[in-house]
């Protein structure tokens, strides 16, 4: 147990390290900050709500940097894409926060926030799930025909539409092998940033699908590039929370210690899988987060009287972290087994690199 004097609570260190590890693993693998998972966990540990979100945002910036260093080594970052997007993302975040404040003045921010979360996350889950299943089937068919299956299989036609927009200046992203109008990247940054600012999250769960399905980046590059965005937007968020006094640095540091191992594992695990495997994990994290948001929405709509709904939402979020972490670990184990010619479930070979 450790006394967090700034937060004014006593909490066990190992739980913070554990949360840092699990969220680091998931974040390093699918390129999200994991704010929607960490804040409820910290509240359960006894941190006040406002302090939990500040600690979460600050730890996300540090953890994303740990992952970024490893993704850089793996060649998963397109710096041109990342830096072109940063300005749009920051502008979008600021716009999102201002709209949120407007809804708060109207007194309906809670319900609007939750409904938007549910619609956005469920929509993204549906699209990601359908497209990834199609890509998975295509990879299996290619393997059956004896054709070489590449690292990335993507069946969406949306990137072609966006890449054909002829607005000057045109940017050449050499790592991602994309030629696209700068305005497309900036606009996607603004929209994803807006959703991030409005929903009060890092925005990785919106930005990674946007980079894959709209810009046309491969999933691995989308993950690495998004983590660079998270370092910038998380650092800005951390600064704002710190100015408000919502950050307990010792809690942040304990979580980063756990994230050191988790982020390494999650980032390195991407080298063992194909793009659709990452998108599957992303879509499962989206549907689980949607369920959590639905429970919280029901709780709000029932006049915040059914405490069991709020409790269930928290339990679901905590369970989600562990489930996704175990899923990633099992994928790596299957990849290693498959590489050594050992038996694996039939759905695995098309998702892992042998």
């Amino acid at each position: 147990m450790f006394e967090f004097v700034v937060s004014g609570i006593v909490a066990p260190i190992f739980l913070l390290v554990f949360v840092g590890f699990t969220v680091g693993t998931v974040g390093g693998f699918i390129g999200v900050g994991g704010g929607y998972m960490v804040t409820p966990a910290l509240i359960v540990f006894g941190f006040p709500g406002y302090m939990a979100s500040g600690i979460d945002m600050t730890h996300i910036a540090g953890k994303a940097l740990v992952s970024t260093v490893r993704h850089r080594q793996l060649g998963n970052i397109d710096w041109t894409l990342a830096l072109s997007m940063v300005a749009g993302t920051m502008l979008g975040v600021e716009l999102g926060v201002r709209v949120l404040v407007y809804f708060k003045h109207l007194g309906i921010s809670g319900v609007v926030l939750l409904i938007t979360s549910v619609v956005v996350m469920f929509g993204l889950f549906l699209y990601t799930q359908v497209e990834t299943r199609r890509a998975h089937r295509q990879a299996e068919a290619m393997a059956r025909e004896g054709r070489k299956v590449g690292r990335e299989i993507q069946t969406s036609r949306l990137p072609q539409i966006f890449q054909n927009i002829p607005l000057f200046p045109i940017v050449r992203c050499s790592t991602a092998r994309i030629v696209v109008s700068m305005w497309v990247i900036v606009l996607i940054g603004i929209v994803t940033g807006f959703l991030a600012g409005f929903l009060g999250v890092g925005g990785g769960f919106v930005r990674v699908p946007a980079l894959v399905y709209l810009v046309g980046a491969s999933t691995h590059i989308a993950v690495g590039t998004d983590l660079v965005e998270i370092v910038v937007s998380g650092g800005y968020g951390a600064l704002r929370h710190s100015i408000e006094g919502h950050v307990d640095m010792m809690a942040v540091l304990f979580m980063i210690c756990g994230a050191l191992f988790g982020a390494q594992f999650g980032s390195i695990a991407t080298a063992y899988v194909r793009g659709p495997a990452i998108r599957y994990i992303l879509s499962y994290s989206l549907i689980l987060a949607t369920l959590g948001a639905v429970l919280r929405l029901l709780y709000v709509l029932t006049g915040q009287t059914l405490e069991v709904l709020a409790l269930l939402a928290v339990m679901l979020t905590l369970g989600e972290m562990i489930f996704l972490c175990l899923f990633i670990i099992s994928l790596v184990v299957f990849a290693v087994r498959h590489k050594h010619g050992k038996s694996v479930p039939p759905w695995v070979p098309a998702l892992v690199v042998s």
Binding site: G46, G62, G110, E152, T175, E244
Partner: protein, 176 residues
């Protein structure tokens, strides 16, 4: 080897600085409660039973820490004394319905509600609680977090190099 040792030393040095700053109370001192308006800083828990028939009398003075029925005059933006959990606004005293100033004392006839955050409820998550820190302390927090993140990232990279684990760049477009 050199890479791992160098970045490990940087990470340990940063952790030591943060730990020392936290354990000596230096970091906690950067956080303080700030008055949001002109009025009197009080601890409302001491007069929860105040009524018109049995009002609470708060002694006004420049106390460093509020102990019991005491009140400290503050201006908007001033640092609140220790143990204060609320403000009685000057406008409320002028109105005189809930509390009024009588000489060197404040007479409270109606208690203030003390709102506490509840564990599982999210409604207080982003609510401003009146706690603020010095701007340079916020910059220090972010710099420290990013510095440690960077040091740990390169330390881990150095560690896998040390173990002889060759992590090559992913061939994203192989087979296309």
């Amino acid at each position: 080897m050199v890479k791992f040792v160098f970045w490990a030393l940087v990470a340990v040095a940063l952790f030591t600085v943060a730990w020392r700053s936290y354990s000596t109370g230096q970091m906690a001192a950067w956080y303080y409660y700030r008055a949001s308006a002109d009025g009197f800083a009080v601890n409302a828990t001491y007069f929860v039973n105040a009524t018109v028939e049995a009002p609470a009398l708060l002694e006004v003075g420049a106390f460093e820490r509020i102990e019991g029925l005491q009140a400290v005059p503050v201006k908007a933006g001033d640092r609140l004394p220790a143990n204060a959990n609320g403000l009685i606004l000057t406008s409320v005293l002028e109105e005189g319905k809930r509390a009024r100033l009588e000489g060197e004392a404040i007479v409270v006839t109606q208690p203030w509600k003390i709102a506490e955050s509840k564990g599982f409820k999210y409604k207080d998550t982003f609510k401003h609680k009146g706690v603020q820190t010095y701007p340079w302390a916020a910059a220090w927090n972010v710099a420290m977090t990013l510095g440690i993140g960077l040091a740990l990232g390169f330390m881990a990279e150095g560690f896998t190099d040390l173990l002889g684990i060759k992590l090559e760049k992913i061939r994203h477009f192989e087979g296309h």
